[in-house]
Point group: C2
Chain length 139, copies 2
């Protein structure tokens, strides 16, 4: 059931391979939806009716610590999880709560160049997070 990619990722990170864990990671990788813990649990329950949300949270925390996924906050309450490793930004539509990756190398380069030139006094930059807020066309 568990695909090889998932097994490999878990092994590389020295995480024990359990059915729950592989299922959770598969959902995040395949859904590609920036799901919340609640979303993941709902989805898993289609095949696995009794998985507790506590187990989902514990695994998400581990995945975040290992760098397998990244937590993303929106203006909404719940934390969303992003499995993508390459540097990117996000589109967020508050009305629909849809959160999407926004890949744009030109933009990344633009910001890198900008902040390489313009230093901020007494502040060391680790990352730049850009959220493009808006809405999807309705027709």
């Amino acid at each position: 059931m568990a695909n090889k990619k998932v097994i490999r990722i878990l092994a590389e990170n020295k995480l024990k391979i359990t059915p729950q864990r592989t299922a959770i990671l598969e959902v995040i990788l395949n859904l590609n939806n920036h799901p919340s813990a609640e979303d993941i649990t709902q989805y898993l329950r289609l095949n696995y009716p009794h998985i507790p949300i506590g187990t989902v949270y514990k695994n998400l925390d581990l995945f975040v610590k290992k760098g397998i996924i990244t937590p993303v906050r929106t203006s909404n309450e719940s934390m969303r999880y992003d499995p993508v490793k390459e540097k990117h930004h996000h589109l967020y539509a508050p009305d629909s709560d849809i959160l999407e990756d926004f890949f744009d190398d030109d933009l990344i380069k633009l910001l890198n160049d900008y902040f390489n030139r313009k230093k901020i006094p007494d502040f060391k930059i680790d990352d730049i997070k850009l959220q493009i807020i808006g809405r999807h066309d309705t027709k």
Copy 2:
């Protein structure tokens, strides 16, 4: 006690002028710290020992609805509140949980120009939120 600016803002927004409300708004305007509801309550209790945090939240919600303040989320759990009206971005230091305004008209222009040129298919941009993540120099 309540200063004229606060009174004016409340009147302009047709909010009734109560001691609690003016005190809350004064704290946000004067602290300039992007305080959380908890921060505001702690601070108010120096002079006003029994103010309930529920009252703080109710007023914050109203201020947000009226556009007097803007809620800002960081990677941390609690919501922070920003009274600044001019367009700006933020510096955030996760280690210290310090959130600061970052005013930079060149950056705003750079992003505006960029997104005026480069449209995103099926997406109407309402706002661009940029958080510069990093840490303050320790020496």
